[in-house]
Symmetry: C2
Subunit: 115 residues, 2 copies
Amino acid sequence: MYTRAMSGLMQLEPTMSEAPLGLEGMAWIFKALSDPARLKIIMYLASDAVGCCGDGICGCDLESVTGLSQPTISHHMKCLASAGLVVAQKRGKWMYYSLDTRVFAAAGAYLTQCC
Amino acid sequence: MYTRAMSGLMQLEPTMSEAPLGLEGMAWIFKALSDPARLKIIMYLASDAVGCCGDGICGCDLESVTGLSQPTISHHMKCLASAGLVVAQKRGKWMYYSLDTRVFAAAGAYLTQCC
DNA sequence: CAAACATATTGAAATGTATCAATGTAAGGA
DNA sequence: TCCTTACATTGATACATTTCAATATGTTTG
């Protein structure tokens, strides 16, 4: 039997674009939110802080905010992006990150409405 | 240096009662929400379904809902309870579970208000 | 083109997680 | 008292996650 784990996937996957967000999709979003370093990054992106490169927050800004190494930041941002919480766009040699407020709103609504 | 991991804790911990819910606490809540089986359990608890024992939903109801073994259910419920999302109370030989809507509301508000 | 910089990928170590079988514990009923 | 039932704990297995050092890739600039 061939599993996602065997394929090397499922250690970062979804990126489900505009799907209906079933249990799996919601769980994936919450997993992305389940790390303090990632929440710190999110809070920073939400704060309208001015990044070192002007024009947005780039990866190197997040290294100093979190105290984590560059590869680790890269990993976390990929995780947040795969959940749709963060939009990453390359401009020049920088990656600029921003929050997709729609996904936050959807996840928030899920929690406030589920009970 | 003595770490949480060495102590055997931190593989289920918080249960932070009435704390201010910092990044760590929020991350812990989202981690509890990050598993499809646990979301399924939450949806079931939110559905006002009638359990097999009357008077609420008990552990054995959740085995059939999820298809998971009894020890696994026990593990998941401890996880949800440690995040404060679920309240567990023993009555007779059953554990009755219910959602703490305040914690859901707090987590939902966190997401809708953070950006 | 070469150097410098921002980011991504790989590899590895340490730790955490999900799951079940087996076993323990406590409560109720025959 | 003994058996059954509901749940918890232990032990083991298979993965997943976090993190960094090392290295690769791609972009800008001298």
